[in-house]
């Protein structure tokens, strides 16, 4: 009864007093205990979780349950600061950091009664799309190829957030998405991953990677759960000056799966001969489903699509190099012993950061340095305007856009990619959306011939998360995908 629970199902069980929050929590803690091979968790908050579950049960006994999140065990990417619980960003440089405050996102969940199971592994400072850059080692995808026993990447950077949902180690999780870091791993693991509009969810207390792109969002088993979670974590926050003042919406109660008379755009720039045939086929199936359910499919053009990745690899490293300058061994985190201040900075940072983080800091330093700023950073910001304008134009004609979420399915952890640029291509379908600040969702569509999940991406205009969730629900209900990888890790 306690396997593969969604938020809705667990909430019903708790409401009807069929199962206690403590029983559900203990069942998940046991699953986490048995899943060490997947390496999803950096920290398991056993005592905190048990304590919170007892509090829920106490409220339930007095018929005072807060709402659908009360008693729901969640886990968070280790990028969200959690009071008195180790928060590492999967980096050695923060491997001893215990925040004295709670991020707005986790605080919002806790205030609604959600239970914190622990902190999830991810790429170091969210930089990567394989989860291989983590100081704590790679997360292993619970899915395996039909014809091979090799371990696969879960995608990244929210690899632990996606894999833990796919392996049912938590009911749902929260990740962050700077260039695809929620949608790509969700796609690789058969989960639902939602990146909200920039400004919808507060960034306060979330360890910064690229501040103009970072956005937190849910990874869940269903679209309904994504709606409940978005409602839980979003809303204006005084502590984040880019947090939107628009009122929070009731995404779940307003969920309506009709797509009748909606116009769905298919961007021709996303089509390519390199796209694996099975991904093309699922994309076509998506068009077919939406059209059969009453939507109109329209070919559209986003002419600056190709410029998005290079622009992203200027903007994101530039902001990262600035954000990560705070890790200097003075106020918190790792510090190596040196008698000279500059040497202390240099050796602390060299010892504390991994290779990918160092590369991005150096690229960011380069594009921001005197004499190069206009040629790179300013240029990329202008390209960003062009990309945003592409979407603005298209949304005059269509309500939403349907694309594949990723250009591939999960690949082997052992596959060594020497050229960093090749790894960056994993995010080709997701990065433009971050540059334009739009909301997008990755939903599982089916399996490829190797038996690995394929995800599709829906995109809507800014702050149209309700419409996004509605269309996603329509697709979900039409395809009936079962996210149940064979359990080999116990």
């Amino acid at each position: 009864m306690l396997d593969n629970l969604t938020i809705l199902e667990a909430s019903k069980l708790i409401d009807e007093k069929k199962v206690s929050a403590l029983e559900i929590t203990n069942s998940y803690l046991k699953k986490i205990e048995d899943s060490k091979k997947l390496n999803c968790f950096i920290t398991v908050s056993h005592d905190k979780a048990v304590h919170a579950a007892k509090e829920t049960d106490n409220r339930v006994s007095k018929n005072n349950r807060i709402g659908p999140m009360d008693g729901i065990p969640l886990a968070y990417k280790d990028l969200f600061c959690t009071k008195d619980t180790l928060t590492t960003a999967s980096s050695k440089i923060l491997s001893n950091f215990i925040p004295t405050y709670e991020s707005t996102v986790t605080n919002n969940c806790i205030n609604k009664g959600a239970i914190t199971l622990g902190k999830l592994n991810c790429d170091e400072f969210a930089m990567g799309s394989t989860n291989k850059t983590s100081f704590y080692g790679p997360v292993v995808n619970p899915w395996k190829s039909l014809d091979s026993d090799e371990e696969l990447v879960p995608g990244g950077s929210s690899g632990g957030s996606a894999a833990s949902v796919a392996a049912d180690l938590c009911i749902a999780s929260i990740g962050t998405d700077t260039g695809g870091s929620i949608r790509q791993p969700a796609s690789f693991t058969g989960a639902v991953g939602l990146k909200p509009t920039y400004g919808r969810v507060s960034r306060w207390g979330t360890i910064a990677f690229a501040s103009s792109l970072d956005q937190a969002g849910p990874i869940s088993k269903t679209v309904e759960d994504a709606a409940i979670l978005l409602q839980t974590i979003s809303g204006h926050d005084n502590k984040d000056s880019t947090s939107s003042q628009r009122p929070n919406e009731h995404y779940f109660s307003n969920l309506n799966s009709s797509v009748k008379n909606l116009k769905i755009g298919i961007p021709k720039e996303y089509m390519s001969d390199d796209l694996p045939l099975e991904i093309q086929n699922y994309w076509n199936e998506g068009k077919k489903i939406l059209s059969e359910n009453g939507a109109e499919i329209i070919e559209i053009s986003l002419p600056h699509t190709k410029t998005a990745l290079p622009a992203y690899y200027i903007i994101a490293p530039a902001e990262a190099s600035s954000n990560l300058s705070r890790y200097d061994g003075v106020k918190y985190g790792l510090r190596t012993n040196e008698k000279n201040l500059i040497k202390m900075y240099e050796s602390t940072r060299s010892d504390g950061f991994g290779d990918e983080v160092k590369r991005r800091i150096m690229i960011g330093t380069y594009v921001l340095s005197s004499g190069y700023y206009d040629a790179y950073y300013l240029k990329a910001q202008k390209i960003r305007s062009l990309i945003k304008k592409d979407f603005d134009n298209v949304f005059k004609d269509v309500n939403a856009i349907l694309t594949p979420a990723t250009p591939n399915t999960a690949f082997a952890i052992d596959k060594e990619e020497k050229d960093p640029v090749k790894n960056y291509l994993n995010d080709i379908f997701t990065v433009p959306i971050n540059l334009a600040g739009l909301p997008a969702i990755s939903i599982p569509f089916g399996l490829d011939k190797k038996g690995l999940p394929v995800g599709m991406q829906l995109i809507t205009n800014s702050f149209e998360e309700q419409l996004l969730l509605n269309i996603a629900k329509n697709i979900q209900d039409s395809i009936n995908f079962k996210n149940e990888p064979k359990c080999w890790w116990k």
């Binding site: 001893n96 950091f97 215990i98 004295t100 405050y101 920039y198 400004g199 103009s212 005084n238 000056s241 880019t242 947090s243 939107s244 600056h304 410029t307 290079p310 622009a311 690899y313 200027i314 061994g329 003075v330 106020k331 918190y332 985190g333 790792l334 510090r335 040196e338 008698k339 000279n340 500059i342 202390m344 240099e346 940072r349 060299s350 950061f353 160092k358 590369r359 800091i361 150096m362 690229i363 330093t365 380069y366 594009v367 300013l378 240029k379 990329a380 910001q381 202008k382 390209i383 960003r384 305007s385 062009l386 945003k388 050229d419 960093p420 640029v421 540059l435 600040g437 739009l438 800014s462």
Partner: protein, 95 residues
Amino acid sequence: MEFDKNSTIKLAKLARLSVNDNQLNSLEKDLKSILKFIDQLKEINTEDIDPTSNSLDQKLILRDDIAENTLSNEDLLKNVPESELGFFVVPKVIE
């Protein structure tokens, strides 16, 4: 300017990273590859285009300038590698 070993050394210095000779070669290769990738943008005409620094259509929201109690001195120093008398301690700067 051609990106070379000296550029890598200079960048590492600016970024406060120490890089040994072994790392230098592979780092130079990686950075060259990334720079080649982002250099594609030079072909795009961006004359008369305004830059976008973030995608939000709203002004930066500022709080009222009122002092609040946030983190205590004790909380601020909880994660400090070295402190004394309530201050952060760094290696000696002035001889």
